[in-house]
């Protein structure tokens, strides 16, 4: 298949997954803030840090990080490529490039999602409408994903979509975990521990993983077991290992004879060997940085292998 079309598919899937995860992240953060003890000042700026948007936010709004402003930026900013609105628009514009090989209903769903994200934005920015807006986005992304799952031949097109979705998912899950190390909740006095639990619960919920955690780990919420679940569970589809294993399966189906991108087995090994006990704060943050670099390397290897065939008139053979 055309390299350009494959790349469009891959990016459409990444943007869709990113939009869903971002919507979940904002939703859960909002709920968490409602549970905070009176008097503590929640930091909305953490959300910006998580998606790497604090610099462009500061450029526009300065140091003020109040709820209304941060949310307007994250949900509706046209100019900022990481806003929810821009992410959905990017998914749609990538899908436009291959309408002829895409199930038509899926294209209509993506179009619907795009219009919903624009038309209902005002309601999404209100405190009462926010939850409904974000749920709407999550549900509509899942409709698209389900449509593709149910309707597409298991051929190149399908696997390029899977690659984008799973790599983005692994990346977004690490960002969600990082939200705890970045101290969403300021720890103060004896309440600190209690709110740590609250926070882990909210991370699990943002991944719809709370129930699954209970089923799989059969334990109360504890930092090390939550981390083991979110990093290493091969059964939970949104864990880092779960997403990377799915990525590996798609690569094997796509190219049974080719070797895997070199970095993938390395990153998988790193994840399976990590020790959740005592992993917190700076140490956790550093590990996550390292993993994210690994994801970026895997992306680079996929890009070189599939999306960037040489444009030179006469490429050297055998390269």
């Amino acid at each position: 298949m055309l390299a350009r079309v494959a790349e469009n598919m891959y990016w459409m899937a990444r943007y869709l997954e990113r939009a869903e995860d971002l919507a979940r992240l904002i939703d859960v953060t909002t709920h968490l803030h409602l549970d905070l003890p009176r008097g503590s000042t929640p930091s909305w700026g953490t959300l910006l840090t998580l998606i790497g948007a604090e610099d462009s936010y500061r450029e526009k709004h300065g140091e003020e990080e109040d709820e209304a402003r941060v949310l307007r930026f994250l949900l509706g900013d046209r100019d900022h490529p990481q806003s929810l609105r821009a992410t959905i628009a990017a998914a749609r514009s990538n899908a436009r490039g291959f309408r002829e090989v895409f199930p038509r209903e899926a294209w209509e769903d993506i179009n619907g999602l795009y219009h919903f994200s624009q038309e209902q934005l005002k309601s999404g920015l209100s405190k009462r409408g926010r939850h409904g807006y974000l749920r709407g986005i999550v549900t509509q992304v899942q409709t698209v994903v389900g449509r593709l799952e149910g309707a597409m031949n298991r051929d190149e097109a399908y696997y390029f979509i899977e690659l984008g979705r799973q790599l983005e998912r692994a990346d977004m899950t690490t960002r969600l975990i990082d939200s705890s190390s970045a101290r969403l909740v300021p720890r103060e006095g004896s309440d600190g521990a209690r709110f740590d639990d609250l926070q882990w619960m909210s991370v699990l919920k943002s991944l719809t993983g709370y129930q699954m955690y209970r089923l799989e780990m059969q334990r109360a919420i504890r930092s090390d077991s939550v981390l083991a679940f979110l990093f290493q569970s091969s059964r939970f589809p949104r864990s880092v290992a779960g997403a990377l294993l799915a990525l590996r399966r798609s690569l094997e189906a796509l190219d049974p004879d080719a070797s895997l991108p070199r970095r993938l087995p390395q990153v998988l090994r790193q994840v399976s060997q990590l020790e959740p006990e005592g992993l917190a704060g700076e140490k956790l943050h550093a590990l996550i940085d390292e993993l994210q670099q690994g994801f970026a390397d895997i992306h680079g290897q996929l890009e070189r292998r599939y999306f960037r065939p040489s444009r030179s008139a006469d490429p050297e053979t055998g390269s």
Partner: protein
């Protein structure tokens, strides 16, 4: 309430279905009576299901607006078909076939010996000032000697009942996908009519197109054919994607192709590069190859002209084919048919005045309020003056334009296009139509059965372009004898 053909007729119009006296024409009786059995409610029901089918099949066209950029709109299709009797159609088909053969002879001649000019059939000044003559194409021998593989000719019926050729589009004519989709939608909407009337099918086109393209391949048994589009923002992108899908070809953009130093063309795939043999290009000459034409073009493929000239890839239509869809050249097509084929033309041209000729020019300047004045190198109805409807100021401006650059203009009498019954929600009224059949030329010449009928939805309007509020109709060629 049902359709009453007796009160439908309107004086002064030539209607395709009904005579001026309100009688159904010969060959339209059975079908016309059948339509009159539907109540208005029933027609509204059918119309709703037709619109649903268009939406479900995702038939769209793109319009541009300042405020919203490009928007996809549902394709407008009218409930009532345009009908042609088979008897008449066979003549039209033969007329189009000879016309396109002559045009291909002309193009090949113009890029070689220019016999037609030496023999005085075509005036030399037409070529000297032609905007679409490409010096880069001189001496090239495309496969089978054919330049215009896909042609879309516009036909209109005047109030005298005669069918005339209005223009021939030899560059990148569009609309055939809508002809095919219209038929699919109509079959879903009126299944019983398709069961009871001998309506000739149209769906052979995509495979005929594919075969025509394959026959151009330099010499490989399994040629790789691709459709080259300017991209998703082009107004005909729907059609590009549709045809690629129907033929099972890749839909490529310029950036997906490279030409190597051996003048071979490749597309860039996830498995490396793959050789391309035939390109059905939907990009204008000027943007095709920045090495040969417009060097700023980002849509084209550097080196494509080299590859084509070397015979390593076939292009359809061939670069330079547009030299023959000049509206001044148009005026000579009947003469060219006699000259190249030694045949009498079967389809007449609309009488035309070439402003480059002094006598014609004087006539046009004196009668500009009766004429339609057209720039010779535009398509899609742009830059025209409709004399009878224009303001005195506009007419004066056009007189000046003609005097400044006479070669650039031609004029024709204002035709009163024929009408077809058209469903308007509450009533059926006559609306003006034209017809665009598509003609494929390769090893043989094939004409679509019927074509795309375009209809001006506003009462009295003659503007059929979909970008300007025009709609479309399914075109039925039927064999109903004298009934």
């Amino acid at each position: 309430m049902t359709i009453n053909w007796g009160s439908y007729a309107q004086p002064g119009l030539f209607d395709e279905w009904v005579t001026e006296k309100g009688r159904l024409r010969t060959g339209f009786g059975r079908l016309g009576k059948r339509f009159a059995t539907y109540s208005m409610d029933a027609l509204q029901d059918r119309s709703a299901s037709l619109e649903r089918a268009i939406k479900e099949q995702g038939v769209t066209f793109t319009v541009y607006s300042e405020a919203h950029g490009s928007i996809d709109r549902s394709w407008p299709l009218d409930l009532m078909p345009r009908i042609l009797r088979r008897q008449e159609w066979l003549t039209i088909e033969a007329g189009l076939t000879q016309r396109v053969k002559a045009l291909n002879c002309l193009i090949d001649d113009l890029y070689h010996d220019q016999r037609c000019i030496k023999d005085g059939v075509l005036p030399a000044f037409l070529l000297e000032n032609s905007a679409n003559f490409r010096p880069q194409c001189v001496g090239v021998n495309p496969p089978l000697g054919v330049w215009a593989h896909i042609c879309g000719s516009d036909l209109v019926r005047h109030e005298d009942g005669q069918m005339y050729v209005l223009e021939d589009n030899l560059r990148v004519p569009s609309g055939v996908s809508y002809m095919l989709e219209n038929r699919g939608v109509m079959k879903r909407t009126f299944p019983e009519l398709f069961a009871n009337f001998a309506i000739e099918p149209v769906d052979a086109y995509p495979s005929q197109l594919y075969d025509t393209l394959c026959a151009l391949a330099p010499h490989r048994a399994q040629p790789e054919v691709v459709v080259l589009t300017p991209g998703v923002f082009n107004s005909a992108y729907f059609e590009h994607a549709y045809l690629a899908q129907q033929m099972g070809c890749e839909l490529v953009e310029g950036r997906d192709l490279v030409v190597n130093s051996q003048d071979e063309v490749f597309m860039l795939t996830t498995r490396g590069r793959a050789r391309v043999d035939v390109i059905y290009r939907r990009i204008d000459d000027a943007f095709l190859d920045p090495e040969a034409f417009n060097e700023d073009s980002l849509l084209g493929v550097p080196g494509l002209m080299r590859a084509w000239k070397a015979g390593k890839v076939a292009l359809a239509n061939a670069p330079g084919a547009g030299v023959a869809d000049d509206k001044a050249v148009y005026c000579f097509v009947p003469d060219l048919i006699r000259y190249y084929l030694s045949e009498a033309p079967l389809l007449p041209n609309v009488p035309s005045y070439i402003c480059a000729r002094k006598d014609d020019r004087d006539y046009v300047l004196d009668h500009i309020d009766e004429l339609v004045v057209k720039p010779v190198n535009e398509s899609g109805g742009y830059g025209m003056l409709l004399g009878p409807q224009a303001t005195p100021k506009d007419r004066e401006a056009f007189r000046k334009k003609i005097q400044r650059n006479p070669r650039n203009y031609m004029a024709q009498p204002m035709l009163n296009l024929s009408t077809v019954p058209t469903f308007l929600g509450q009533a059926v009224e006559p609306r003006h139509v034209d017809l665009r059949p598509f003609i494929l030329s390769g090893e043989s010449v094939q004409v679509t059965t019927g074509g795309l009928t375009r209809v001006a939805m506003r009462k009295g309007s003659l503007v059929v372009n979909s970008s300007q509020g025009g709609g479309s109709k399914d075109t039925w060629v039927i064999d109903e004898g004298d009934r």
